[in-house]
Subunit: 151 residues, 4 copies
């Protein structure tokens, strides 16, 4: 089994099976060994400020946390010489956020929000990732830093 097949399965689980992701409309739009992208289209139910029509900060935190978790798990898969389907059964359920910091840079205005992530510390127990959220025009909405339990 290739790494990409494993990432495709995780991507499908995160986009289609997780109830909270479906409730929000969050989608994993890219997930390969080179990068992760998680996106959400602006919708009435995501608004946190009626006057200003901006994204709720909890949606921002959710997008960054999910993206960090996927980034950390991609690191787990990349560390395996011969990755197999058992990673989904043994490692994915152990994946968990230890802590998350979100820096809100500007109000979440836009039609579509895209989160991306990078691993900054990797190990067989803990990974640390940095994440960013931009809107469809490339305006930078938020930064995130997350520490994840990976094994």
């Amino acid at each position: 089994m290739t790494s990409q097949l494993i990432l495709d399965k995780v991507s499908a689980i995160f986009s289609e099976q997780l109830p909270f992701h479906r409730h929000l409309g969050l989608k994993v739009v890219r997930y390969d060994t080179e990068g992760v992208e998680v996106a959400i289209d602006m919708a009435d139910h995501l608004i946190g400020n009626v006057h200003q029509q901006i994204l709720h900060g909890g949606v921002t935190a959710t997008l960054l946390d999910v993206t960090g978790g996927l980034t950390a798990f991609a690191g787990v898969v990349a560390r395996e010489v011969d990755p197999g389907i058992e990673l989904l059964q043994q490692k994915l359920p152990k994946l968990g956020t230890i802590d998350l910091r979100v820096d809100y840079l500007r109000p979440g205005r836009g039609q579509r929000f895209i989160a991306t992530g990078t691993i900054i510390r990797t190990g067989n127990k803990v990974a640390v990732c940095r994440m960013e959220l931009h809107n469809e025009e490339g305006s930078h909405i938020a930064f995130g830093t997350g520490t994840y339990l990976v094994g």
Copy 2:
């Protein structure tokens, strides 16, 4: 106008008018000069892990962030000698999260989750709050620390 009337109005806005709060089912169940409580009842759409039926980490982050913001705003109201309705029009729209840290302590299992907050640094520009999330049995799910722009 008393401080409590202002807090009651904010509480109503947060529970009934904010689209994202209604979409999740989040309610401000207490809001006075002594404390804040924000609660959510467990529901299928809040689940972040199908096998384990636990609360999504993004819901935890949302509850803590909302609670921190309310805690910071209660501090703004408490600083006013003669608080008036203009606080809602002038100060509430300026309330914003600068940064948020969430420490996830244990899986979010339970029937109901309650977030509470305390101010740890107060000023006329910035407030820092600490928040906690417990389930209905008092099990401690998460800690939060947030820095808020208040003026």
Copy 3:
């Protein structure tokens, strides 16, 4: 070997052998299964603001980080049924800070600063601790939250 003997040895290493601790004048003044206290006496070389004679924020961060590490290691010792001297050789060198958050509450004025810590999440790989810094009059200077690799 009792847990207390191990903690005493760690305390001696931290107070007397670590060059940076000696350079600052930092001392572990209490270290048992009930708690940790790390203290420093105000001195000219610790000042970060010439006009106001206040403690440099880097000293605050140092005190909180050291206290968090000691708190996490006390948790490691407490988890052992029959703790032995090998903990010092095998576990202590593996102790490391993954991330640290410091919340500065008020200027570091005082004659003596005392840091204390509590474990909020414990495991066989990672521990999360909360720390506080007070001056000799009990004025609360700073909060800290640290995530530590413990195994």
Copy 4:
């Protein structure tokens, strides 16, 4: 008075007058509108681990915090149409760290450590900066994120 003259004065104060910086040997080696660099040469008194000869995590936190503060203040100067010497008397004393997060990526080994910073959120009250620490070979030791009060 030009912005650069103001930054030069701040640089001199930070390198030569602040007691804690002199005690450690910390120097501002670059400070202009394009960037900040704070450096320290490895020395026995900065060691936090006798066996491994690595930089104490408190030194890392100090370097990142100082660099973030300087980065935030450069932002203050850059916002002024006609910056004058009064910035040093009125704005510099108000500069303070609200919170700091440090992510320790790898052990602090090296001969010289250099911290750099970037503003990610700017305003007339609060600035948020990201900082990095590298050794002389370009190895990435730590990341930092700090929120600063600037007015």
